[in-house]
Amino acid sequence: MKKLKLLAFITILSVAFLSCGDEKDLSQDLAGLWKQDEVLVDGTPAQLNDCEKEVTLLLEANGVYRMFDTCSSMEHSGTWIFSDKEWLNMSMDKITGMNSSDGTYRYGQVLVRFTILNVDNSNLEIRIKTTLGERKKTIQFTQMIQDTIVTGEQALLLDTKNKEMHSYIYRFKKMQL
């Protein structure tokens, strides 16, 4: 009888621990103000200019984010959610066209899914694998210079380059709010 009770106790404890073990929510760690510190493209540090080093990302606890691209002096906002143990899902602005009247860009929102490589009290490291073309169109913290096509040959070359897959790692430092 004692053995049965002990077995039951161990079973209950095991179930209680195991059933909750997979639900580590990183949302609280992710929330806060982050400043872009480093970008790696295919493992190689990209040369960031001064304005790129000033890019900040504010992840608020209600699932809303705001970021300021200091290079284009534009604020972008959307929603974010943590899911599946390691994903940071963000609705991000993507260039959909240009207004011919004033030359400004039109944006739509797309879902962008980053893999969280590391997040703690002071560092955030996320990675995305995407094509260069997608990276150019999507405002992944800074807006890249858009393609200007002059000749057919250039267009062909750009098209090939834009289809190449790359790995982008973004490193942020946590700022005091």
Binding site: V15, A16, S19, L33, T56, L58, V64, F68, S73, G78
Partner: protein, 149 residues
Amino acid sequence: MYQIKNAFLIGLSIMLLLVVGCKSDVTDLNSEKLMKSWQLVSMTKNEQPVSLTDCQQGELILFAEKNVCYIYTACDNTDLRSAWNYEIKTMILNISDYLPVTFYIQQLDAGNLTVRYYDYSSDGKLDTYKKYYKSVQTTLENGKLRLKQ
């Protein structure tokens, strides 16, 4: 029979633990204190007082039932009907028309409401604002929120 009863109890205990131990955090809404009319009385930016004009001090907000809120901004004489929700766990107050600006409730009692929020300046600096409200009596007619005379 005794063993069947034990097995049943064990099963029940496991079920209970699973339900209690793993239930998602339920949003604890304690919105009653908020559900009244508030008038803006003062404001700070990065802890420095911001001087408000008379019309700015006329800003009114009523958090009503069914997550509807009414906002009156006296300076441009506009009336807004919006949606709101308050999550006590994070102390976050969302007002749909003001999103993505997120409000954090700093103080809430019978007569006072203080909210904090962040906003980017044109050069990308993140400023911290605090708005101080007092509880007031208002009237609401045809969606227009006004101070009760």
